[in-house]
């Protein structure tokens, strides 16, 4: 090893340690920002060290990319609203996937004749995973944005076809390892990666996006790992492994929070809008629900001592987090005990609701997980459900024929009264009927959640 190489390796070790400390900082909100700062130092160190690498001989392309990328990065992070965070994350996975995939292709083109078979294999995996992450994330982004239908898109033999694409790609990687000069096979791997990304996300419904986004997170990490194996770079392997294990862990947590296996999320095409939805609509017709006015709901709140808010994706859609905070504040001024119950899969990505409420200045001591709050409902006067549906569906506990049976849900029906803010009586994304809406102690206040909340605040003021 030359002295420069030794300095480089030492710099990378320091970077790796700083990255681990950065993630370690995230174990509590207090030390998180300091940790993140360490991560930034680590990244700066790794980049500067790499610029000293002997293989880096020209700087004009690098400089152009760094300047352009920084400009776009700063612009996106400054202007994006917090409600668009799932889209932002999906989008950045797409960029990450594309970057690794292109590096794989570039490396193959540059050194095709002198590559070892192991390195060709690693580059094949890198390119495949990179392009898969790229199109998969674009699809996820499209579904979140509503450009592509949020409902699962399925056809006969779909899973068979996807599994075929996957094993076809593996076989193609095997072929280029055997004969590295077969460049059209190498580009074929890129093609199957691109195709599989689209195909694999199409059948997954909008409500399953937390799992998909976490999974794409881990694919992006694994692609970086493959790059590390190809380039013999330990910093890439370590960072990729950190990213990969984070993604896998989150997707397992999300699947568990829905009581569904990984395989079921990926291949189950959950929430197909077919028979169950029609059945739900038919059986709903026979039942009656209490449609309440804002004044009725305000009267219930004025008589309450304890209130729990349950936010869901609907809160993000109508950007109602500030209105929720304001209503909570005006209840607290009346001496009411206010808490927030956050389900792990509420929203479209892990932690979605926490971020929105933090943005609205809600003290995080008042946000409670499923396990920490579920016993409190029996002692609670009023629950306000803001655009949540499946996470408050009692069928998950009682009805074995329900598609969401077994999913851990809030014991909302135990509280004295339930106020549900909902756009309309249509069943949500998953098309599952929610019995909670038809219970005698449930009041349905239909309309835009934000408007309803603002009206409630007004009504509370008048009723002083």
């Amino acid at each position: 090893m030359s002295p420069t190489q030794i300095v480089l390796s030492l710099a990378y070790i320091v970077s790796a340690v700083l990255f681990i400390l950065c993630l370690r900082g995230l174990s509590s909100p207090d030390g998180a920002r300091r940790g993140l700062f360490l991560g930034e130092i680590g990244m700066l160190l790794a980049v500067v060290a790499t610029l000293l690498h002997k293989d880096v001989v020209r700087y004009e392309w690098i400089l152009a990319g760094l300047v352009l990328g920084s400009g776009i990065g700063i612009a996106i992070s400054a202007w994006i609203p917090m409600t668009k965070m799932p889209e932002r994350i999906a989008f950045s996975h797409a960029f990450g996937g594309l970057a690794t995939a292109l590096v794989g292709v570039a490396e193959y083109l540059r050194e095709a004749d002198q590559l070892s078979s192991f390195k060709v294999g690693a580059l094949g995996f890198e390119t495949f995973l990179g392009f898969l992450t790229f199109t998969g994330s674009i699809m996820a982004y499209g579904k979140l944005q509503g450009v592509i239908t949020g409902a699962p898109v399925t056809w006969k033999g779909q899973n068979f076809m996807n599994i075929g694409l996957f094993f076809g790609s593996l076989a193609a990687i095997g072929v280029v390892v055997y004969d590295r000069s077969l460049s059209h096979v190498f580009f074929g791997i890129a093609g199957t990666g691109l195709a599989l990304g689209v195909m694999a996300v199409l059948p997954i419904g909008g409500a399953d996006m937390p799992v998909v986004i976490s999974l794409l997170n881990s694919y992006a990490g694994l692609a970086a790992c493959a790059t590390g194996f190809a380039l013999n770079s330990q910093i890439l392997i370590i960072s990729g492994a950190l990213d990969g294990s984070s993604g896998i862990l989150l997707s397992l947590l999300m699947s568990k929070a829905m009581n569904r296996s990984f395989a079921n999320v990926l291949f189950g095409a959950f929430g197909t809008v077919s028979d169950p939805a029609a059945g739900a609509a038919a059986s709903q017709a026979g039942k009656s629900y209490n449609e309440a006015t804002v004044e009725d709901a305000a009267a219930v709140l004025m008589a309450s001592q304890s209130v729990i808010f349950i936010p869901g994706y609907g809160m993000a859609v109508s950007q109602a987090q500030h209105a929720v905070r304001d209503l909570a504040a005006s209840l607290e001024r009346r001496g009411v005990d206010v808490k927030y119950a956050i389900h792990p899969v509420a929203g479209r990505m892990p932690g979605h609701m926490n971020v929105l409420l933090a943005e609205a200045n809600v003290d995080y001591d008042k946000l409670f997980d499923l396990d920490n709050i579920n016993d409190d409902f029996a002692r609670t006067d009023a629950v306000i459900v803001v655009g949540a549906n499946d996470v408050v569906n009692p069928a998950a506990k009682k009805d074995p024929s329900s598609p969401i049976y077994g999913m851990p849900v809030f014991n909302v029906e135990q509280s004295r009264s339930v106020i549900v803010l909902k756009r309309s009586m249509n069943p949500g994304f998953s098309g599952v009927e929610n019995e909670l809406f038809f219970q005698p102690n449930t009041m349905m206040v239909l309309g835009d959640a934000k408007k309803t909340l603002l009206a409630l605040i007004g009504a509370l003021k008048e009723g002083h």
Binding site: M43, A106, G351
Partner: protein
């Protein structure tokens, strides 16, 4: 050359183990910052992109340029937006109401 991959496999397995240990301690409250933070860290592929963009080979330079741009967006944007989120998560010392009945301690 032949045994490098064994050494790298060691690194990979140990890093995955460390990652699993560290990340399982992150509370659900911070799962979104975790995602965008790991996203910024996975922008480490910038290192590999730099090598491609800084090489002699022309096509590699062009592909490397696109890769550097994408990876930089993730690194810069990822760290900035994670910091923006974490700034919101600080406990508010001036939170309204003395709250005798709220908070984690009183709840359980």
């Amino acid at each position: 050359m032949g045994t490098e991959w064994v050494f790298n496999l060691y690194v990979f397995v140990l890093a995955t183990f460390v990652g699993y240990q560290v990340i399982s301690r992150v509370p659900p409250l911070l799962h979104t910052p975790l995602m965008s933070g790991t996203n910024a860290i996975s922008g480490i592929s910038l290192v590999a992109s730099l090598l491609a963009a800084g090489s002699h080979h022309f096509i590699s330079q062009v592909l490397g340029f696109v890769a550097v741009t994408c990876a930089t967006i993730n690194v810069v944007g990822g760290f900035l937006i994670t910091d923006r989120m974490l700034r919101m998560f600080r406990r508010k010392p001036d939170a309204p109401a003395p709250k005798p009945g709220t908070g984690k301690g009183a709840a359980s």
